[in-house]
Each structure stands twice: as structure tokens, then as C-alpha cells.
Subunit: 309 residues, 3 copies
């Protein structure tokens, strides 16, 4: 099977088979990390430009390492010092980057749909690295890969996502990927942060952590964004933590072999306790490692897969 | 013929033959862009340091991609976090960069003549990437290359440069290159922005757009720098646009096969209308692509040309 | 002999033999700089991440060039745009970097002991690029290498370090390295800036420049940090310069073949006069070049030395 897409904009538009193809390729690239020389010549002579309109050192770095391990050249296009501050339009910036010779544009933007808009006008492959609250497809893929690696598959698996689902691209990309792959999904949090329409996708809503994580195979804790806490959606960080923060004690409500996931960076003592973050159920750092492998697989498949080797 | 210069400081000091040699090499390097692996080992093991005292993501990125396609290592020397803020002199900074092992220093500075000063004290090759209003030689070269590619040559060609000529290093480098290559040059704009002494170089001045672009083969529109608009040189952006902005309608005043050029980033609706920027006469994005090729040619020739291969 | 350490945290914990091993390897790597292709494949497929909590373009760049000349991939982890500003702990940041695949973390931090703390929790090799006033081991090594290269050895050599010793990691790393290697060390400066306890390490204190540098083979002038001048430790920059600044005149107090060293960036006219900085005794720029070679040697030895080739 060959990957038919030129861009990776979201997981909503991928089929189950396409997602599975990416996960299979991820396993192959992860194997490279165990070698002494963690590098393959797959994308030699290709140029990957990262274009981040929101700060994110960890995602940007993950893409940079992935691209360099494929031997691509990586350019960090610094938005804050670029023509953007001179009033250049997003589309003109992207056309310039493309004309400079970019084969891939890895883009983060606060506006949902920005990468989709650009992809229609662009010969380079556009990879969405997060567009507002809409999607963050490589995060969804790395979460799926981590679950598959630890649990063997998705059929009948109970995955609970806890936090501010309304504003979370991570939640959306997880829901698209995991529901297609066959998992049962519950979203949990204060009622103000759980979007009702998700029920139509077969997602279960729960406002009670204990009820939500009973029978959970996987708990994915979202970051509470302290630095941009939305007014009045919940009373306080402290109250959120009291009701939905995952402690060692509460972990016992879930299955014995539950996985604890988090997209990072974590707020210790807010959505996750110190001991749970560092405990034996936590796969948070493995998610980081898998992120590099999944991004290598995405770059590889978008470039045309086997043909390019 | 061998390129005899160690530095590229301006086009004023190059002969017609030297400029032609760069343009010929540019064509060769541009051919590489059509290959599957857009990379050659020409400058492997060489180090290119970019030292930008003014922000310019697009020029810096163009040099970075050019250097990487020649397999050089590229270092972005971050002026804002460097010893410069600790009061180190420009010359000490450059001697440090040289001692770190730079083979090339690509430099932008607000002060005219700064690269010239350094070149005299420096074993590394200095490339001027813009020194105040003085010169921006690689921009002049990429403009010349684009014209040559589209028009076949320069003899008898009418090139009109529109905008704030007084403060434009792009205009100066264009004038030096194109007049040596045999084109007729007109500069057009408000009288406050056209320097009289250019007439001595054989440049024609025009304060009327219609009159200026009649018989034009090439129109090069300069960016009006909204973000640092100089007090009182013209009444307002809106008035500039009304008098000198190029619209679809006004384009008819020029020849049928006129080329529209712009160094970017463009101000849509100010010096150029939406439809002209994206229209069939526009070669603005090809200029961007040619910029990478011309910078590869410059790096190659400054490093000694064939000897280094 | 094989280098037994996984991290380079300070010179206090290295033996004389280990320091000598690094210096020997430095000579080998410096030889590469004379080749046409200044690059070896030693660390191909390895990833070096620089994590600087204090600005330092020159040290960061020196490590970057060193790593690239060993064919490693280099990632600049931008602290100011990273999760650090979202409140992530230092340890979580480092674990994330490690999980992203870093083989080396080159770290600068204002807090003494920060790299030591991390090294205990980290599978990647940690290199201290300066931790507050504590140590800056690669600076100490490059200073030792420069002295060895110029003087042939250390036995009986008189090295004088002038400046704010109390707050200087450069002084500390120099003292550890040079005293182990057999040099006699004098520290000179105002009494408020010379820590008494150093006498226990065999270091001589001197408050009088003339007396201090009589018989000096090497004078290492520290930078007076004008930008963060500590209140009341000395009356003024001007007075410091009058008492301890090294002029052409005062240079005559030292031996005829004295070496003048400075870790840079220099304050011309403060701790060093214009003519001494550029004079025949000065090896300041050679120190910069040697810094790249010493960092190549450190990266190479920490990666396991010969085994990895």
C-alpha cells in the first residue's frame, strides 16, 4: 500500500488503513534509534522548513531531529524576525518559503484551518504541527503508536482523555485516530470543557473522574494551560486539581495495567501528581521518543515512500 | 576565467565580465534544483557564518539554503544574544568568528561600508548581505540573472526602478549591475526619493509613472517601508500608492511582455496591486528561487572556484 | 588510556592524566583545521543539544562548530521559547531532551551545580558550559592547551590570573587544571575580589599588579563584567582599570616572552589596553581557535573514544 496524501493536515481525513500504514512505518524508523549511527539517507538533498507562529520548542525540535535523522536539511524560519512583522501575508510568506526550495513546510499556527488553506496553494508538502484547537496530527499518531506498542492493539480498549477538551487539538487528533482504530473513548473534565457534539462521534462524556477512569486501559491527561487560563471556564487551578488531578490514590480506580499518557509539558501537582508522573504506569517520556519516529515516518511517506529511496 | 575576488562587497567594484561569470555559474547551480537530490559536495567541511545586525529572515534563509546545498556547515550567529550586547566591538566580534573557523561571513549591517571595513581585516571571505542604503550585491545579481533568463540579454533593454531610490541598497546594486551589462535605467518616484547624482551614471529620472514605464521591458518595484516610513519624504502611503502604485490598468502603459519584479516582501495594495503581484508578468517568486542559485554561485566562486572541487 | 567519564562537569574531579589525555587529543583535532575539508565522520548520527539558560553566542557557537566538524547533528534548544517559560522544571526539560534522542547535552546555567544534578539523572552525556561562578571546564582546558602549545609544558610556569576571581568560573577551572598540571598560580586583583580560601590550593594572592606579574610567564586577564557590575566590590570601572588594567607600559614588568590571555569578550581600555590586546604577546584569538579543538576532543572522548570510530 502506498500513502496517497501529499500533506498531513489532520487525522479526520485519514482512513484507518492510512493511519495503520504510518504506525507500521514508525516501528521501522524507531528501530534505527537502537543503532550506533542513528541516521539514514532517505531524504538527503530535501529541505524541511519549520514555520511556527506559536512557540513550541519541543514539537519543533522533534521535527528537526526527525528530519536530520533522515538526512534532510532543516531551516528554522524565524517568524518573529521575518517579514511577518513587516506585514507580509501568510500566503506570501509560504510562497516565498516554497520558492526558496522547501520540500516540506512544518507549520504551527493559532488559527484553525491555516495549514489547510496553505496546502491548497502549495507545491511543498504541508505538515500541520498544530492549528489552534483544531488538530495536531503527529501528536495523535504518536499517542496511537505508544498505545499500540504497549497494549498490542486497540480493539475494545478504553481510553480516557482528561482535561480541557474544548480547546485541545491533542484531544481532537487523539479522538479521530483512536476511534478509527477501534478504541472506546471517554472524555472527562468539568462540563464547561467537554464539547457535547463529540457524543455523535461515539465518544462518552464523564464529569466524574472516578466514574470516567473505572475500567480505563489508557488515561491521557491534558495539560492545563496555566499561562493562558481561560476566564471562568473553571473556578481555579486548585479546584481543577482537586477534582481531576490524577494522584497515586486515584490511580487505583483504573485497571492495574493502565497506561498514563501526557502530551507534555507537564504541570506537576496540577493535572498529575509527582509520583504518578514518574511512576511505573507513566509512558510520558516514551511518547517523546515515539514522536521522533512517527515524524520520520510521516516525512518519509509524504515524500512518496519507497520511490524516493 | 577565474574569479579574482575574495570578498563580495558590492557590484560597483565588479567588472562586466565578473558579473557575467557569476551569472553563468548561477545557471549551472540552478540546474541542480531540478534533481532529486538537490545537493553537491562542493563546500563540504567549510563553515558559513551569518552575522545579521538587522533582521532579515528571507535573505538569511536564502544564504542558509544555498550554503547547505553546497554541503557547507551553516552557523547563525545570533547578534541579540551575543557579546555585542555586552559592548564588544564589531571588529572583535568578526575576529572571534574568524578564529572559530568561519570560511565565509555573510553580513548585514545598518551602516554603509561596515562589510568593506571588515573585509580589510579578515582572512575569511566577507559577503555583504546589505549595508544600510549602500549595496545589496546578491540582490542585484539575482535581479540581473532573472532578467537575463527571461529576456535573453541586456542590450538596449529598458529597466525602470520605482520607489524610494534614495534609501535603497537594492536600487544601487541593480543600477551598478544592469548599467554595466548594457541596460538603460530609469528611476521613478517622488522627487524627494530620487537622488539627482544618479544622472551622472547615465540613469534617467522620472517623476511621472506613466512617462517612466512607457517602453519599459522590466519594472522593478521597490518595497515602501511602511514600518519605518521616513517623516515628510512623501505625504502618505495612500498618496504614494495613488501616484506610483502599479495596478492592472497602469500596467498597460508598459510593453506587452514587460517583466514585473519586486525584491519582497511585497505590500499588496501599496506599491503593487493584488492582481499585478499574482499576474502573468510577475516573476517575483522566480526571483526568490534565483536568489538561492546566485548565492550558491557566489559562495562557490569566492572559495576559489574549480580549484576547490 | 581510555577516558572513563561519561560527563564533563568540572576540572576539579579530573586527574592530571585525564586532563593530559584531553590535551593530547586536542592537538590531533586541531590538525584537522589545516585540511581542506575540516570535517571527520567521528560522531555521525549522534545528536548534540545545546541548552543555554544564559546567553553566550561565542561558547554556544564554538560547541556547534566542534560538533559539526565531528559530523554530529546539532540542535539549539531555545530556552526562551520553550516549555521553560510555561513553568516546566529543569529536570523535566532535560528528560524530554534526552527522550528526543540527545546523545550530548551542552548546558549553561546560572546556578552552580545544575549540570551535576542533571548528570546524575541522565543517560545522555552532560557537558558543563558554565554553571554560575563554579566551573567552565572547556575554558580551563582550552587555556591549558594554549599554554602548553606556546610554552611546551607547565612545570615551574608562573601563571597570573587578574580580575574578579570570586565570581569567575573561568578562574576556578583554570586553577584546577593548571595546578594539577604543575604550574604556580597567582591571583591578582582588589582584595574584595580574591577569595582567601584559594590559598589552601597553593594559590598565591596578590593585591598589587606589579608585584603579581613580576616573573609571570602567562597573564590571564578576566573580563570585568560591566553589564552586571556588582555593587561596591570595587569603586568604579575607571579605578579598576587604573590599578589592574594591563597597558603596554606595565607589560614590561613581566617576562619578555609572557603570554597574554583573555577568555573574551574583551573590554578594550578596561582590563586590557588596545595595544596589548592586539600585540605580539596576545594569544586571545588562538584561544578561540583552540576552544573548537578542545571541544571536539571532549565530545570524542565522552562518546567512548576509539570504540566509536
Amino acid at each position: 500500500m502506498k500513502f496517497q496524501h501529499k500533506h498531513l493536515l489532520g487525522l479526520e481525513e485519514l482512513t484507518r488503513e492510512e493511519i495503520e500504514l504510518i504506525l507500521e512505518n514508525t516501528a521501522g524508523f524507531k528501530e534505527i534509534f537502537t543503532r550506533s549511527i542513528k541516521k539514514v539517507p532517505t531524504l538527503r538533498g530535501k529541505t524541511v522548513v519549520s514555520l511556527f507562529y506559536e512557540n513550541s520548542t519541543r514539537t519543533r525540535t522533534s521535527f528537526e531531529i526527525a528530519a536530520k535523522r533522515l538526512s534532510a536539511d532543516v531551516i528554522n524560519f524565524n517568524v518573529s524576525t521575518s517579514s511577518v512583522v513587516k506585514g507580509e501575508s501568510l500566503l506570501d510568506t509560504v510562497h516565498t518559503i516554497e520558492s526558496l526550495g522547501a520540500d516540506f513546510i512544518v507549520m504551527r499556527h493559532s488559527c484553525p484551518g491555516a495549514p489547510q488553506l496553505l496546502a491548497r496553494k502549495c507545491r511543498a508538502s504541508v505538515i500541520n504541527a498544530g492549528d489552534g484547537p483544531h488538530e495536531h496530527p503527529t501528536q495523535g499518531l504518536l499517542d496511537a503508536f505508544t498505545i499500540k506498542e504497549k497494549k498490542g492493539g486497540f480493539a475494545g480498549l478504553n481510553v480516557v482523555i482528561v482535561g480541557d477538551i474544548t480547546h485541545s487539538r491533542v484531544a481532537r487528533s487523539n479522538i479521530w485516530a483512536l476511534s478509527k482504530l477501534g478504541a472506546h473513548i471517554t472524555i472527562a473534565g468539568p462540563s464547561t470543557l467537554l464539547p457535547k457534539p463529540f457524543e455523535r462521534l461515539g465518544v462518552r462524556l464523564s464529569f466524574d473522574l472516578r466514574e470516567a477512569i473505572r475500567d480505563a486501559d489508557v488515561i491521557n491527561l491534558l495539560r492545563i494551560q496555566i499561562e493562558r487560563q481561560r476566564a471562568n471556564l473553571f473556578p481555579s487551578i486548585r479546584e481543577y486539581s482537586l477534582l481531576y488531578g490524577l494522584s497515586e490514590e486515584r490511580l487505583k480506580w483504573a485497571k492495574k495495567d493502565v497506561l498514563i499518557m501526557h502530551p507534555g509539558p507537564i504541570n506537576r501537582g496540577v493535572e498529575i501528581s509527582q509520583s504518578v508522573a514518574d511512576g511505573k504506569h507513566s509512558v510520558i517520556l516514551e511518547q517523546v521518543t515515539n514522536g521522533v519516529a512517527v515524524r520520520m515516518a510521516v516525512l518519509y511517506l509524504l515524500s512518496g515512500g519507497e520511490e524516493n529511496e
